[in-house]
Structures are given as structure tokens and as C-alpha cells.
């Protein structure tokens, strides 16, 4: 059986995928992973997960432009330039409240 090994380097850090090993059961996998991924004290914890237990998700549909959900979906440079230029001009009396309608 193939076990995927995840290790946590220090408290506060997330588990990261570190490698894989073939072992007959979790007892052997543990004995071996302890040494392969921890003999230098480089891990505070390990997760050993049979590869078959991992559910892979690898494809997404992105047919319609849904970029509004992301930072790169916004381009405010041009609008900001216009607004700054506007702010630099003296305002005519009474105009401010009706601007932008």
C-alpha cells in the first residue's frame, strides 16, 4: 500500500505533503516514516494517509467570466486617475450634490 506522508514542521504551521512510501500497514509505515521524516527532529507531527483514501479534485469549469470575485477582476487605475483630476479642479457652487447621477 502507498502511504502519503504529511509533516508538520513546527506548531503553528500547517501539515505539508512530504513524500510517499510503500508499506504493508500503518505500523510499518509509522516506524519507517518516523525515521525518514523525523530523525533530525525536523517534524513535530506526521500524518500517514493511504493513497487510496485521498479524494482527488483537479478540474474546474470557468466558462463565464466570474472575475468579480477576485482581486484581478478589478482595474481601478483609470477611474482613480479621473477622480483625482476631478478633485483637483475648483468645484462650481451647487454642482457637487448633483454630480455623478
Amino acid at each position: 500500500m502507498i502511504y502519503e506522508v504529511f509533516r508538520r514542521e513546527r506548531k503553528g504551521q500547517a501539515f505539508e505533503h512530504a513524500g510517499s512510501m510503500v508499506a504493508p500497514d500503518t505500523e510499518f509505515a509509522e516506524a519507517w516514516a518516523r525515521e525518514q521524516y523525523g530523525r533530525r527532529g525536523e517534524s513535530v507531527a506526521l500524518w500517514l494517509v493511504p493513497r487510496g483514501a485521498i479524494h482527488d479534485v483537479e478540474d474546474w469549469a470557468d466558462e463565464f467570466d466570474l472575475k468579480y470575485r477576485r482581486v484581478d477582476g478589478y482595474s481601478i487605475k483609470a477611474r482613480l486617475k479621473e477622480a483625482r483630476e476631478r478633485a483637483a479642479q475648483p468645484m462650481a457652487r451647487g454642482e457637487g450634490s448633483t454630480r455623478g447621477r
Binding site: M1, A18, G19, M21, V22, P24, D25, Q36, E58
Partner: protein, 296 residues
């Protein structure tokens, strides 16, 4: 439809490939062969050093040398796992190795004759290997690049250990200094051949596919630049009267014996047969253990 040209442009542009991705058959085949050779080399590299684990003259050095060789076995495990996920099972890699059908690096076909060799291997041979390994951190095949991170990190103590062993001997008796010089004399030729003959990068399929990111000559120059000064500053000599640093910073050297390299890596090194037979003996002898363990 997957397109080899598009894949080529992708990897040449720095694109990374993961295990399940489509890849051209040639890329996969070259990758397997290259990575398998690396695994074989780590495994065969254990044998010359293993003898000396049993002869180590202090407790500290015994621990350090055992740990160094342990790392190499660990690297072999990581590397063969990558090859296995690419489609070639470890048992087949090992079978091909002991049958003489697969290659491993030239340096591991030579004898280790003295404690001087133990120092020189950890100091210079490992240094030559690490230069190549650092270049592999940028391999287009990501699973391999990732294990190279762990490998390079672990190798860092090997060079320090090697340097410490050498310096201790150089500060010791005349006989100990002589051991080091004699070992350097014997290992220099294989070291100069180690990175391979200077094929231009652009014609090297390994580089074209971005499996390797460094040409052979580039690696050798890096080795010379880093380590010849270290050798010379200890008062040691190198058996190459042509070796010198040019004005432009590159190193000039006597032409390595490329015939010797070819002869050795095709399985005709001084220790090739003996070491492969030793491996085969234990592989065969302990097959029952693998059957008992992996038959779960």
C-alpha cells in the same frame, strides 16, 4: 489533443509537470532513465563507504559516517518512489541494476583504499554531486524537484563532515597528510569526468526538456571554482599540470579521459562486478523478507 510542441514550450517557459499530467513518451522515458540512474547511484554509493563504517576510528565519526550513508539510502527510497509513480516499479529498477542493465555514476565504480578516501569522498565527490543536485531543484518534473529539496538539505552536513575529516588529518601526522594527498591523486580523474563530457546544452535532450537546468561544463566549472581553492589552500596538489584559473575566471584543465568514463559507466569499472554481485547476493537472500512483509 495533447501537443508535444506546446508541452516543449510550456516546460521551456518554466512550466511544471505533475505526476498525472500528460507528457510526451520521450519526456517520460528520458525522465525515468535519468531519475533511475540517480537512485542507482545513491544506492551504489553506499557500498564504498559502508566498508569504512565498520573501521571508523572514533565514536563521533562512526555516528557521522553511519548517518551520512543512511541519508543516501533514504535518498534512494525517495528517488525510486518518484520513478515508481512514473511507471517503473522499484523491483524492476533493482533487478536491472544488479543485472548490469542500468547505469550509475562513475565515481561509485572505484575502490576506497584508505581512510583518506572516506574524507575525499565526503568532501569532493559529494561536492561534485551536490552541484548537479542543486541544478535539479529547477527540474520541470515537480515531484522530482520537490524531493531534491530534501536531498540537498540533508547533503549539507555531508560536506561539512568531509571537510572536518580532511582538516583533522591535514592537521595530524605526516602519514595522515599523505593519506589525503594519495586519495586526492586517485580520485581526481573520476571527479573531472563526473559531470560528463561537455555537450552543448542546446543539443542535450535533458536540458531541452528542462529536466536538467545546467550544462555539463557549467557544472564542472562550478566545481573547480568552488573546490580547487579549497584543495590548494591546504597545501595539497592535484594531478593535473594544466589546471589553472584563466583571467576571465574560467578554469583550464587537462582533457579528462572520456574513454575511461565510457568504459566505467558501461559496467567495466574496477569494482563494478564485485559491488553488483554483493547487491545481488543480499537482494536474493532476503527476497523472503520482502515477500513476508509486502504480502499483507
Amino acid at each position: 489533443m495533447p501537443d508535444e510542441q506546446a508541452f516543449l514550450e510550456y516546460v521551456q517557459g518554466g512550466g511544471q509537470v505533475e505526476t498525472g499530467d500528460w507528457m510526451p513518451d520521450d519526456y517520460r522515458a528520458k525522465l525515468i532513465k535519468f531519475i533511475e540512474m540517480h537512485g542507482n547511484s545513491e544506492l551504489m554509493g553506499v557500498l564504498p563507504e559502508r566498508e569504512w563504517i565498520l573501521r571508523v576510528p572514533t565514536l563521533q565519526r562512526k555516528l557521522a559516517l553511519t548517518a551520512k550513508v543512511q541519508d543516501e539510502v533514504g535518498h534512494a527510497q525517495l528517488i525510486y518512489r518518484v520513478v515508481e509513480d512514473l511507471g517503473k516499479p522499484r523491483e524492476r529498477c533493482l533487478a536491472d541494476l544488479v543485472d548490469g542493465k542500468a547505469k550509475f555514476h562513475n565515481v561509485f565504480h572505484y575502490p576506497t583504499k584508505t581512510w583518506g578516501d572516506v574524507g575525499v569522498i565526503a568532501w569532493l565527490v559529494d561536492a561534485a554531486a551536490i552541484i548537479s543536485q542543486k541544478a535539479l531543484l529547477k527540474c520541470s518534473y515537480a515531484p522530482y524537484a520537490r524531493i531534491m529539496k530534501k536531498i540537498c538539505w540533508e547533503e549539507s552536513f555531508h560536506i561539512l563532515h568531509g571537510r572536518d575529516v580532511i582538516l583533522t588529518m591535514m592537521n595530524g601526522t605526516d602519514e595522515q597528510r599523505e593519506l589525503v594527498q594519495e586519495a586526492v591523486n586517485r580520485w581526481w580523474g573520476p571527479l573531472m569526468q563526473f559531470h560528463g563530457n561537455p555537450i552543448p546544452k542546446e543539443t542535450d535532450p535533458m536540458y531541452i526538456w528542462r529536466i536538467k537546468s545546467q550544462g555539463n561544463e557549467e557544472a564542472r566549472q562550478q566545481f573547480l571554482d568552488g573546490y580547487v581553492p579549497q584543495v590548494w589552500e591546504l597545501g595539497l596538489t592535484v594531478p593535473d599540470p594544466k589546471l589553472r584559473r584563466r583571467e576571465d575566471g574560467t578554469w583550464e584543465y587537462g582533457e579528462p579521459d572520456w574513454d575511461e568514463l565510457r568504459h566505467v559507466v558501461t559496467g567495466h569499472g574496477p569494482k563494478t562486478d564485485e559491488r553488483l554481485a554483493f547487491r545481488r547476493r543480499f537482494l536474493d537472500q532476503e527476497q523472503w523478507v520482502r515477500d513476508a512483509v509486502l504480502a499483507a
